[in-house]
């Protein structure tokens, strides 16, 4: 066990955990931030996507010991009032079905728009290909990302 100082959604947090504990479980179990989801545990589904210094990463595959001074943002910290341009687009397009994959989809899309504010459909597909949606909401996800980009 070791003690880690983390910056999560702009807040300092102290966590006692084993060095190999994935950030996913630190967020969910140690810090009660349940918005980041567990889907596969092996970086294959994207349900656990968070931002680390602005980049989308798979929190299931990042041990807490590798985070050190990075700024972590989770779905809970993406915006203050659910008013991120993607969240608004998600509402406009009524994207979710079961909803379980959606936090990861939004976080990944947010990182995409951060580095490319007017992605082509091809670029959207390439960026989002790592995020599974078992309910098959891909059509709506793509439409929502396009309209969010056009509202930037």
């Amino acid at each position: 066990m070791a003690t880690y100082q983390l910056t999560i959604n702009g807040k300092q947090q102290t966590v006692e955990a084993d060095a190999d504990t994935p950030m996913l479980w630190v967020l969910r179990d140690h810090l009660d931030l349940k918005g980041t989801k567990f889907g596969c545990g092996i970086a294959q589904c994207g349900a656990c996507t968070i931002h680390m210094d602005g980049n989308a990463v798979r929190s299931c595959s990042i041990p807490v010991s590798a985070v050190s001074n990075a700024e972590i943002t989770t779905i809970e910290g993406l915006s203050k009032k659910a008013d991120h341009v993607l969240q608004k687009a998600w509402v406009e397009h009524d994207v979710p079905q079961c909803g379980y994959c959606q936090a990861g989809q939004i976080m990944n899309a947010a990182a995409l728009l951060q580095r490319n504010s007017s992605p082509s459909m091809d670029e959207i597909e390439t960026a989002m290909n790592g995020n599974l949606c078992r309910c098959g909401t891909y059509n709506k996800i793509k439409a929502a990302i396009s309209s969010a980009a056009s509202n930037l």
């Binding site: 980041t36 545990g41 659910a82 079905q97 079961c98 909803g99 379980y100 994959c101 989002m128 098959g136």
Partner: protein, 706 residues
């Protein structure tokens, strides 16, 4: 005018009472669908299992113990009530009543879709509105017919009374004998897209799913289960597991071992550190065995046919040609994005269960028997479900949670890893279909379908298409007994039966030199005008969707570089036809677009309906392309998304949805677009590549697709 009775003889479908805290409560039954013509209503319709309440502050609530709050029902139910009650739909909220004794327990099994609640919800809304008017008429001492309603108020010229003000006073007023429902042309809420009511919680990451549930001090439990169906636990060593930081206990139950930890990761690590010795001497089945057993069955007559019209075998014997094809599909795991999980606290007098389950009443009953308690001592709270597809009809994971909690004397949440979820499934069973068609003088004179699958005998839908349209018709079903757990998977049976059937009709049309759509239409014309035997579908509606899909999907029109595949299927009372457009890119096929025509009666919430239909198509195509799940020595050969492929965004087609305009009562939407999807895809791929595919998965790992 749709008039519906609220009473038959002296029995009433609705009961009013005072709401605790002030207001009106109307009890009714979800599935009750009385109409003016109903003479002998089902007695179950009188069992109250849902409540519509109007509180003194005007708040309108639907209380239901119903688990099937998925597929957007939580949004569409209030729409139905609001429409008839004349309030804004956003002012009606659905509350899921916990499964305890405050609510009677007649929870119907299976999916309580919009179909079963279409009339009951509207009846409750219309009755409540009528009671509001009658109460206001008394208050003002005016004639009821002079009053109208709008936005939660009863209006009398420029005077108005809110429903909240009237609610408590309406309690004693007798329920009218019958109420009039709105005509579809007068709908202002139904038929207009409304957003999912849980949207904000989902996009901000609120803890709404079962796996998000947490109780102070609860332990996370991760379970080691036998590695193969048929294996048994001989012994295990937990020395290393107990050394893992955060592991608090190790509990054996049956052939399983649970590792408890104060966080999920600790429990997962603990499980990996267990060393178990398995008895593998039992019956361990594998895929080659299943294949050969199914093949044997396809080559002999079933004990008795599921349906026989005319004499199909004779038609085969006297045909110019017998055209025969066999299609095969493997087992499939459900792979809900949220892995199975459940919370149980068996430490107190009352047992507390929380989690994502589609069958709460049945599961509670099973847990009561397991723990030797009365169901009355068990509360079960349902959470939002991160996907179901049939998997959460089975409560195995809830039973595990209860047993571990009891043995450990701690509150626990059982969490499946993806590997646990995929390898301890209740799978869609593998199946095969052999079709034979007798062709004489260029005409289809006989049809013979044999279906065989694993685990249960229910492989055909003998009274659906093409029943009634072919003179000599024989349908058979048989099965192979197995110790692999199988169960319902989105659109049970038809999820592959439809693929096979719709591929066969495509091939048959080519063999007969006919257009694939025209062949279907010819059979349907016969079934409509002069059916052979009884049928259990409406050919007219099927013709309707086929024509609409053909038109919107440009069937029969050449588009350069595009190969089109057609498919149509009826299931869950809904009719769907699809045209898939496949193009070749660098020698590989890509599905670009799928045009879908749907007849599901009145479309209550169009955007949500489109979402369901698109999802079903993507799901059907994804599993037809990639679904690959086999067994060796009872052991599943895939365990996570690195070796089990699900369709991804690049491979998913755009899906263009068209509804048949209809004034009929709404029918199911969650499943019906899935069954035809694989057939439309295979038919288009056959044209695009010249290669007909008979076995799912159509695409093996080494093949590029998209």
């Amino acid at each position: 005018m749709t008039v519906i009775k609220t009473k038959v003889d002296r029995r009433s479908f609705l009961k009013t009472s005072a709401l605790a805290g002030g207001g009106l409560m109307i009890g009714f039954n979800w599935a009750c669908s009385p109409s003016a013509e109903v003479k002998d209503p089902a007695s179950a319709w009188f069992d109250i299992n849902a409540y519509l309440t109007i509180a003194d502050n005007g708040e309108v609530t639907i209380m239901s113990p119903n688990p099937e709050i998925g597929q957007n029902v939580k949004t569409s139910m209030p729409m139905l009530v609001a429409e008839e009650l004349d309030v804004d739909w956003k002012d009606v909220i659905v509350k899921q009543a916990p499964l305890d004794n405050a609510f009677p327990r007649q929870v119907a099994g299976g999916s309580q879709s919009i179909r079963s609640s279409w009339k009951s919800m509207r009846m409750a809304g219309a009755t409540a509105r009528r009671l509001m008017i009658e109460t206001a008429a008394k208050e003002w001492a005016v004639d009821v017919n002079s009053l109208t309603t709008k936005g939660g108020y009863v209006l009398n010229g420029n005077k108005k009374l809110s429903y909240g003000e009237l609610a408590s006073k309406a309690v004693g007023i007798e329920i009218p004998e019958e109420v009039t429902l709105k005509e579809p042309k007068d709908f202002t809420i139904i038929g207009k897209s409304q957003k999912n009511v849980d949207l904000d919680e989902i996009i901000t990451g609120k803890p709404v799913f079962g796996i998000d549930y947490k109780q102070e001090g609860m332990q996370y439990a991760v379970v080691l289960r036998p590695p193969a169906f048929g294996a048994k636990l001989k012994s295990f060593d937990d020395t290393e597991a107990r050394k893992v930081n955060g592991v608090t206990d190790v509990i054996q139950f049956g052939d399983k071992v649970a590792v408890l930890g104060n966080n999920t990761w600790a429990a997962m690590k603990g499980k990996k550190a267990l060393v178990a010795d398995w008895d593998m001497s039992g019956r361990l089945e594998d895929t080659p065995y299943h294949d050969s057993e199914m093949n044997k069955l396809l080559n002999k007559r079933a004990e008795r046919p599921s349906r026989s019209d005319g004499d199909a075998l004779k038609a085969m014997a006297s045909a110019d040609k017998v055209f025969e094809k066999t299609y095969e599909a493997p087992f499939l795991p459900h792979n809900t994005m949220e892995p199975m999980n459940f919370f149980a606290d068996v430490t107190g007098d009352k047992v507390k269960l929380v989690g994502p389950i589609q069958t709460p009443a049945g599961t509670r009953g099973q847990i009561a028997r397991l723990l030797e308690k009365s169901p009355d001592d068990i509360t079960l709270e349902m959470t939002r479900m991160g996907g179901g597809f049939g998997r959460r009809l089975y409560g195995d994971f809830a039973l595990e949670a209860a047993e571990i909690s009891q043995k450990a004397n701690k509150a626990v949440q059982v969490v499946f890893s993806r590997e646990d979820d995929m390898t301890a499934g209740t799978y869609r069973p593998a199946s095969k279909y052999k079709f034979r068609a007798a062709i004489k003088d260029g005409k289809l004179t006989g049809y013979h379908l044999s279906g065989a699958g694993i685990g249960r005998n229910n492989w055909v839908r003998p009274d659906w298409f093409p029943a009634g349209g072919i003179e000599n018709y024989l349908i058979e079903s048989s099965y192979v007994d197995s110790n692999i757990t199988t169960g319902a998977w989105r659109a049970p049976i038809t999820n592959f039966l439809a693929v096979a059937e719709q591929c066969f009709f495509d091939e048959l049309a080519a063999e007969m030199g006919q257009d694939a759509v025209q062949l279907r239409l010819d059979i349907l014309e016969r079934a409509k005008n002069n059916p052979v035997g009884e049928i259990d579908y409406e050919p007219e509606k099927m013709i309707g969707v086929i024509k609409l899909a053909a038109e919107k999907g440009n069937w029969g029109k050449a588009e350069s570089g595009v190969s089109k595949g057609f498919s149509a299927y009826y299931s869950h009372n809904t009719y769907v036809a699809e045209v898939a457009d496949v193009i070749m890119k660098d020698g590989n096929p890509i599905v670009k677009n799928v045009t879908v025509a749907v007849d599901c009666g009145i479309v209550v919430n169009p955007d949500a309906a489109i979402n369901q239909i698109q999802g079903g198509v993507v799901d059907g195509m994804g599993h037809a392309l990639y679904g690959d799940f086999s067994f060796i020595n009872g052991t599943p050969q895939a365990s996570n998304f690195n070796n089990y492929r699900l369709i991804r965004t690049k491979e998913a087609p755009t899906v263009d949805v068209h509804f048949v305009e209809s004034l009929n009562d709404p029918t199911g939407l969650g499943e019906p677009s899935l069954p035809p999807a694989g057939g439309a895809l295979a038919n288009a791929m056959a044209k695009a590549t010249g290669n007909r595919l008979y076995k799912i998965p159509f695409v093996k790992d080494q093949m590029v697709f998209g």
